[in-house]
Amino acid sequence: MEILQAIAKALEKGDQKDVARLTTQAIEQENPPQTILDDGLIAGMDVVGEQFRAHEIFLPQVLLAAQAMYAGLDLLEPLLLSEGIASRGKVVIGTVEGDLHDIGKNLVGIMLRGAGFEVIDLGSDVSPERFVAAAGESGAPVIGMSALLTTTMPVMGRTVERIEKEGLTGQVQAIVGGAPLSRDFAERIGAAGYGYDGLSAVDLVKKLIS
């Protein structure tokens, strides 16, 4: 469908206004909201993801594309809700207790939303109790934890332990990220995965929620 391709192209260019205009048009032309989302917005975002992976574009372009994505999403959400269509999945994110560095976590949140997930952002300085409670209450199957300080990394291990203690193993999985972390660390604490940048975090979530 031409209009949907046009939406994808506008999103790839990071053109907020155009995406909004074309999405409105697509809605008026009676395209199903889910189709506009999948074949217009998410299709465009997937291309952006590939270009980023290939080092053809960089973080600012990804963020501009995500902004354009929201412009379209804002128009579609009420329609999707009224049709009872759920989001792609829910993810709880936060920066761990004792740590205020939240920009990485914020970027992951933006990209997850851009990929169609519902993001519950607990902010920074989040305790294991708060992480697990939020997952339990919202039914989110994934908790994403971020840390920049090596001294706060132990909180991640305690959160994984708490998931077990609350009997949520299998229902809730934890993924981790942050500059001083590594795949080794994630494995050692029993996390389900480690993301070395925002986009790999999204890939991880896509894999876990499917």
Binding site: H55, F58, L59, L100, I103, D197
Partner: protein
Amino acid sequence: MRPLLRLLSDELVERILDEARGILQNLGVEIHNEKAVSLLGDHGADVDRPKGRVRLPGDLVDRALATVPSGFALYDSTGEQTHDLSGNRVYFTPGSSAINILDLESGVMRRPVTADYVRYARLMGGLDHIASQSTAFIPTDVPDEVTDSYRLYLSLMFCSKPVVTGAFTIESFELMKNLQVAVRGSMEALQDKPLTIFSICPTAPLKWSEVTSQNLLDCAEYSIPVEYVSMPLAGFMSPVTLVGTLIQHTAETLSGVVLTQLKKPGAPALWGGSPAAFDIRYETTPMGAAETIMIDCAAAEIGKHLGLPTQAYSALSDAKLLDAQAGLETAMGAALSVLAGINSVSGPGMLDFESCQSLEKLVLDNEICGLALRLVEGIEPKDDFPAGELFNELLETGHLLIAGHTLTHLKGEHYLPSTVIDRANRSRWQEEGSLTLGERARLEVDRLVGEWQPVGLDPAVLTELTDLMETEARRYGLDRLPDRE
């Protein structure tokens, strides 16, 4: 004449200061520590408690600037003065808190253990151009809760140089203070002769965490010198322009000055920082970038303008190996930092965006520091006028190798590097094994560690230090401190 680098005109410095004050007055800083917030509120700051935002009026900043000292001294563990951190005097210190160490033989970066740290501390005694040690990396064979104090303990046990360090938690401060008091004999003696500097970092943009705010207050209370290490990332967590980043750095650092000076007027401090460019292509923070180095130097100019002694993270590299990039980035940073008159330059030994230390690189960087320090000694006449007699001698003898003038001045005038810097002609270099820089550095590490002399502390003091450390370690489940070999 002492050569001095200037990047900012006086007018630009003033404008940056004005703008920074405006930001502190109108936007304020976010402080996650109730004691700090109350202290500021009591002294006239405008506190928005629910948001944790504190706005600092101009007169509060002025008051703080009026009491902060224009310099302070550091002393080694035997009580000898080693530093006069004032004016344009420059000193180097290794980069601190690395999480990895480079194993040169295997080329692998790995997590360090106690034996690595002891080797490092022993090496530091032999590096003549690096005047202080730092708690350079984080040993992983002790509980997380004691890693900060344990580094300081090892440093004090194996090297007498003063220590640039820092605490990772609020609780650790007590032990780190007590270790120092044990060395000096009393708190009064410690305050008289500072032994450490604590690096304390705000979080960009314009935030102080609970731990870092408390560290500031605690250090100020006991007159333990601090260096405010603001770390804006240009284009990411601060404006992409250098001036914009300098405005943020100034605002964040001023807020630190206010906090310590309100707690204790006259508490010693360095106007410091570790700002950086942000490479959008790799999402990394290059410390070797021209922009990073320039922001460092310019930030120090602003600190000097305010009458404070200065510090910066410079003289280091983003390379993963001891290679040409490691050399060039470190040398650029070192040369420019000394020319800018930055009093304490933190960096030697560091690789991989301040995350990795290397003993071989430390040895190379010691040479870079020697070179840099010689640069700022400048050029002064030394029995050069009138020159007639000396030239007569040269023409008559045909050389000046053993002239009185040469014998008198050779040592003070020319810096002679160690064998790490290759100056042999090619034949000799080949004869001596065609050694690479890495191989030469490794030999030098071995040699200097082998020549280590015990620190001149009373055995009773050494015992007390160990008792203090063991007691703390036991609290967190470690019954016996790790082996040192």
